[in-house]
């Protein structure tokens, strides 16, 4: 298996160079964001406020980690959450903030894929539940925002080191591996 190494934050051409089916590992910075963080980001931006962190060029990780505080924050377990839950909010967030990578599990809708295509953003799938493997690749907590949302919903600013295997499952050219598998599954299920 040919595994490419990528670094975040990244620019549009780097994001567009990722193709569905590629397997990569990521080093650099990422920000976790789930339902509550997405809601707050959009609420602030719609009201014309600034965000306390930089989403442009960023890797956004759909993850609600287990953290431990022993003098400093450490990641205990940090697998991805179901990205599809964020489909209601993601297209607007992608268009407003221009993140270059979304990382999660299970894939996202055609509306989200459309926004990714427009802006130049790729979706990377990490195996769901592989939380210890992920924690090992997230050795440093750089910051935490919005702790009032609770541990899973807060925005954790983390440093990644060879985080993977990440499958480029949706690319900025409109291809989605999840959609392709789903179409096959639907066809086959009718025959059963």
């Amino acid at each position: 298996m040919n595994i490419r190494k990528i670094k975040s934050p990244l620019d549009e051409s780097e994001a567009r160079s990722l193709r569905a089916g590629d397997i990569v590992t990521l080093s650099g910075e990422l920000l976790t964001a789930r339902d509550e963080a997405h809601l707050r980001v959009l609420e602030l931006l719609r009201a014309g406020h600034e965000l306390p962190f930089q989403l442009e060029g960023a890797a956004v990780y759909h993850c609600g980690p287990i953290m431990r505080h022993d003098g400093m924050w450490k990641v205990v377990a940090a697998g991805p959450t179901t990205s599809a839950r964020l489909d209601r909010l993601a297209p607007e967030l992608i268009r407003r903030c221009r993140p270059r990578l979304l990382i999660g599990k299970g894939g996202m809708s055609s509306e989200t894929l459309e926004a990714m295509k427009e802006v130049g953003c790729a979706y990377l799938a990490f195996p769901g539940g592989a939380a210890v493997l992920a924690a090992e690749a997230l050795p440093e907590v750089l910051n935490v925002h919005w702790e009032d949302l609770g541990m899973p919903e807060a925005v954790w600013h983390l440093r990644a080191e060879n985080f993977g295997p990440l499958v480029v499952a949706m690319d900025s050219h409109g291809r989605s591996l999840f959609k392709e598998v789903e179409d096959t599954v639907k066809k086959r299920s009718v025959l059963l």
């Binding site: 298996m1 287990i66 599990k105 299970g106 539940g129 210890v132 924690a135 295997p165 789903e182 059963l192």
Partner: protein, 289 residues
């Protein structure tokens, strides 16, 4: 007759085992899945999953960050005091293991940090005249729980209607409940009973067959058909979509045919403890016997 501190202690250990070590039947099924897959994509997903399971076990940390809602099943001579001890055990386990505080108020979404709340954790009590107390825990993550489904079928749809509904549920859930999944099915009872049966089915050992011949056939047929869908590990394609199908039933109204489906992710966590009156406790991840 059982001291509350013994029950509390048992609950903490049950949760630790369930969250950090994959039950042997599930582990074996995942290894078998890896052997069966020939393509690079499903193999990459299963290898990552199995390596994650080993690391969690070695380090005694939860295998998945969604440590779920711990659902308890208690059988024996018991009353409200056992629920109080379970609550204490859950709050302690949340701090000590640690578990992710998942329990929130459904309206305000406030998280109180302890995994306790109104009605939480769920405890199913089954009074029984036996000297020992059986406690099982099924920590259930939201990724799979969110795809639970109930349908009140027309009785004339029969077992064919049940089969179709289960397939449709798996297709609709797709990649989202973290396949390869375990499929629990409850047939009959009332609407709420069908849901409970589907959940309780997930405690059964993978590979075990229903005592009822018709249901045993339904289990194997669904297992083969679901795996023929091609959804594969994490929904990225492959020949292993489910690790097993487990069906439970109860009698129902002559005009009803309730069917409920409860899916479990590959991290199909479960642990069992048999507490004896003399204070001995027997732990297992395969069942009570």
């Amino acid at each position: 007759m059982y001291s509350s501190s013994l029950i509390e202690e048992t609950v903490v250990r049950l949760l630790k085992e369930a969250e950090c070590s994959l039950p042997p039947d599930v582990h074996a099924a995942l290894r078998q899945a890896l052997e069966a897959e020939t393509e690079e994509m499903p193999r990459s997903q299963l290898m990552a999953i199995l390596s994650n399971v080993d690391k969690a076990d070695e380090r005694s940390v939860p295998m998945c960050q969604d440590t779920g809602l711990p659902i308890f099943f208690v059988r024996g001579r018991c009353d409200h005091r056992v629920i109080e001890s379970i609550r204490k055990g859950v709050a302690r386990a949340t701090k000590e293991i640690p578990l992710r505080p998942n329990t929130v108020d459904p309206v305000s979404r406030t998280n109180f940090g302890s995994n306790l709340g109104e009605g939480m954790p769920p405890v199913h009590l089954e009074p029984a005249d036996q000297d020992h107390l059986d406690i099982a825990v099924l920590p259930k993550g939201a990724g799979s729980e969110n795809w639970s489904a109930l349908r009140m079928l027309n009785p004339s749809e029969g077992m064919e209607g049940v089969r179709r509904f289960v397939i449709d549920c798996v297709v609709r859930a797709g990649s989202r409940p973290c396949p390869p999944i375990v499929v629990g099915v409850g047939i009959g009872g009332t609407a709420d009973m069908a849901c409970s049966l589907a959940k309780k089915a997930l405690l059964r050992k993978l590979g075990s067959r229903s005592d009822d011949a018709t249901l045993a056939d339904l289990e194997s047929k669904l297992h083969v058909q679901i795996n023929s869908l091609g959804l594969g590990p994490m929904g990225l394609g492959g020949s292993t979509t489910c690790l097993g199908v487990l069906v439970e039933k109860a009698h129902c109204h002559t005009a009803s045919l309730p069917v409920a489906v409860s899916l479990n992710c590959w991290a199909a966590r479960k642990a069992f403890a048999r507490v004896y009156p003399d204070g001995r406790v027997k732990f297992s991840q395969e069942g009570f016997d």
